[in-house]
């Protein structure tokens, strides 16, 4: 027999700790039907019964004010719903019963068999509260109460035992007789019902709760510092700085390792497998494609590692509190800050972190502008172009011109993200509720199990869901670069080979020349040439055009593509040979291609353009349709084109 157990509870009651305690690593993540709300569930087998535990979003009452909360309403309103629970586990924060009981009375009145979990039982004594359990049980006849402390893993057995006993709802004595949920639009009935329930709770409360709960002194003391009007912001900036320092210095190590291993693997396959099309597909299409997914994992894992810690401790809610006022003029709220900041490392975890934003419009705007923040993949493009076209000189003796340009590009990204948010806020016609009403949980030390499970889950979502799209696009790009119309690729390559036969170039250099000719005559090469009239006003030639197309896979591919086109592949980290070669590149009229104007225009292009298929795939996943990623690609493309156009004119 399989029983569906719904896990319900207010936010910050330790509900996710409890879910992790019950299901361990045996968790699955999907979406509730038709919406982008995450549905986590886990299966537990007990002698004769199998429990499917469904973790519902945290709610204060059954009446929704966000998309996440609406899921609970939709499920409970429809007893034939696929996810309608046979039993409910209601998680209660023992140290804050009055508000927690509101949700319990609603589920109780719906006549769902209930196991009520008095979680954080350790805090009851610590805060000097006394709960009379037998009186509490008398208040809710039929409900089984279980005391737990999920943070330290206490109470799993007791919960499972309680679930195994069939709970009888016939002796329930409801707060509201023959209760039915009010309509979603009917706010007045909802308000009256909630007031009635609080009235009932306040009347019963003295029977089982002997003292008045207060916010604990420790939290008050920490808040004096962390939400201080001056130090609060300084501390937030320092934490951000430390997190980014850590990510930038340490994510590179596994990323380089992954890069190396995947290129070794594709080389090994390339030389050992029978040569031919299949070999090329595997060694140049599929393996690098998978590598392109795996390489993002260190950044995603590290970022969510830190974010989970900040969330677990209760600090993230304070960041929202501090930043809310500052973000409001842009149509965003305090919760947009963390996703946007994360995007400075990488837009993928940034977009994934928007799940905490309850309001769909604010979440959508945050997702749409997040890729405008300059991510770490832009750095190789910027450094190449800066050392190529910006002179290394000091201004006023202290400022380095190259450094100023780099900082300017970052600022340009941030400023345009905020400006675009203002515009989108005006353009997107979605009903917007716009409120804060956020609970600031008491501070706790993080639970490492929750942190690790959260990190694993994010990595899994990214590699499986977004990975498919990334792999598909990589293979398409590979095919476009490998094939060309008719035999032109082969004949041109042969011609070059013959003309090189008598030259004194090394074998490597000859091979690079041939690769360059092949790319020029592939479909991508033809597309690049076809693009030339379009991008000429920006100061680009067809070679840059090819690199723009290939770097749609990921921005940093731009550098490698140019290296292939100019036949200067170089194993060293420095791009000296490439830079030397690019400096000598001349237009048909004899002037250099890479002037200040072209360089600036290209860098501005990379600030704006959505040159990242992984972000595209994640946005598709998070918005559950292709509509928004396509809109995003178009508006970022238009922005990139026009901004580069004006930049080119300005610097010419």
């Amino acid at each position: 027999m399989t029983l569906k157990i719904g896990l319900f509870g207010n936010p910050n009651t330790g509900k996710s700790s409890l879910f992790n305690m019950l299901t361990g690593l045996n968790q699955h993540v999907g979406n509730f039907p038709g919406v982008t709300v995450e549905k986590k569930y886990g299966v537990i087998k007990r002698s004769e019964k199998t429990f499917t535990i469904i973790d519902f979003p945290g709610i204060y009452s059954l009446y929704p004010t966000s998309q996440d909360e609406q899921v609970v309403y939709d499920v409970l309103e429809e007893p034939n719903h696929l996810d309608f629970p046979d039993m409910a586990c209601v998680v209660l924060d023992s140290s804050n019963l009055s508000r927690n009981l509101l949700l319990l009375t609603q589920l109780y009145d719906l006549k769902i068999p209930i196991v009520a979990i008095l979680n954080m039982w350790d805090l009851v004594e610590k805060r000097g509260l006394t709960i009379d359990l037998s009186n509490l049980e008398k208040t809710f006849p039929g409900v089984t109460f279980v005391q737990t402390n999920a943070r330290v893993g206490l109470g799993k057995e007791r919960i499972l035992e309680a679930l195994e006993k069939t709970v009888e709802t016939s002796n329930y004595s409801p707060v509201i007789d023959s209760f039915e949920l009010a309509k979603i639009e009917d706010k007045k009935s909802q308000e009256n019902e909630i007031k009635l329930r609080y009235g009932w709770i306040n009347e019963k409360l003295p029977h089982f709760l002997k003292s008045k709960p207060v916010v604990e002194e420790g939290t008050k003391k920490i808040d004096k510092i962390l939400t201080h009007p001056v130090f609060g912001y300084l501390i937030f900036l320092s934490i951000l700085f430390a997190v980014f320092q850590f990510i930038f210095s340490f994510a590179v190590i596994p990323m380089d390792f992954i890069d190396l291993k995947f290129s070794q693997l594709s080389e090994w396959v390339g030389t050992t497998m029978q040569s031919g099309l299949l070999n090329d597909l595997v060694s140049q299409g599929i393996i690098p494609g998978i590598g392109g997914v795996v390489v993002f994992i260190p950044q995603i894992a590290l970022l969510f590692f830190f974010l989970s810690i900040l969330e677990e401790t209760g600090y993230l809610a304070r960041v929202v509190f501090l930043m809310d006022r500052l973000m409001r003029p842009f149509g965003l709220n305090g919760k947009s800050v963390v996703p946007l900041m994360s995007s400075v490392a990488c837009a993928i975890p940034g977009v994934m972190a928007t799940r905490t934003i309850a309001d769909w419009k604010e979440r959508l705007i945050t997702i749409l502008v997040a890729p405008l923040m300059s991510c770490s993949a832009r750095i190789p493009v910027f450094t190449l172009l800066i050392s190529l076209t910006i002179t290394n000189e000091d201004i006023a003796g202290i400022f380095n011109l190259q450094g100023i340009v780099l900082m300017g590009l970052y600022l340009l990204g941030i400023v345009s993200a905020l400006l675009v948010a203002i515009v989108l806020n005006k353009l997107i016609k979605i009903k917007f509720s716009g409120y804060l009403l956020l609970e600031l949980p008491s501070y706790k030390s993080p639970r490492w199990k929750n942190v690790i499970i959260n990190v694993l889950e994010k990595v899994k979502i990214f590699s499986l869901d977004a990975g498919k799209v990334i792999l598909a696009i990589s293979i398409i790009l590979w095919a476009l670069a490998t094939f060309g119309p008719g035999n032109t690729m082969e004949t041109e390559a042969k011609k070059r080979e013959e003309s090189l036969a008598s030259s004194t170039l090394s074998e490597d250099e000859k091979e690079q020349q041939i690769a360059s000719v092949k790319l020029e005559h592939s479909y991508i090469g033809i597309m690049g040439k076809g693009l030339e009239p379009v991008i000429a006003p920006l100061g680009y030639d067809w070679k840059i055009g090819i690199s723009l197309i290939t770097s749609f896979a990921a921005r940093e591919v731009f550098v490698g593509s140019l290296a292939t086109i100019y036949a200067v592949h170089d194993e060293s980290e420095e791009n000296d040979r490439l830079i030397d070669r690019l400096k000598k590149e001349l237009k048909p009229d004899g002037t250099p291609v890479y002037t200040l104007a072209t360089g600036m225009s290209l860098m501005v292009f990379y600030v704006f353009a959505m040159q990242c298929m992984a972000t595209l795939a994640v946005v598709k996943r998070e918005t559950n349709s292709w509509k928004w990623p396509i809109i995003q690609i178009v508006f970022m493309g238009v922005l990139a084109y026009s901004a580069s156009f004006f930049t080119f004119i300005l610097f010419s």
């Binding site: 706010k187 909630i194 709960p213 808040d223 004096k224 929202v320 409120y435 009403l437 609970e439 600031l440």
Partner: protein, 74 residues
Amino acid sequence: MTTLLDLEIEKKAVVLEVLPSPLNAKMAEMGIIEGVELSVAFKAPFGDPIAIELNGSLLSLRKNEASLVKIQLI
């Protein structure tokens, strides 16, 4: 009219009424209803948002949300 906006930090008050708005059900859900005791714990710069303590937990509200809550000092 005294509202939650006028309440100084660490002073206690009791809620007299929550003025009608689309947020009433949400406010009630969070425990902001007639007769409940609360106090202001701390404020962000420019007094927006504010954090209040009620029923033993901390809750943050924006200025315009706080302006809907009529209170009486105790």
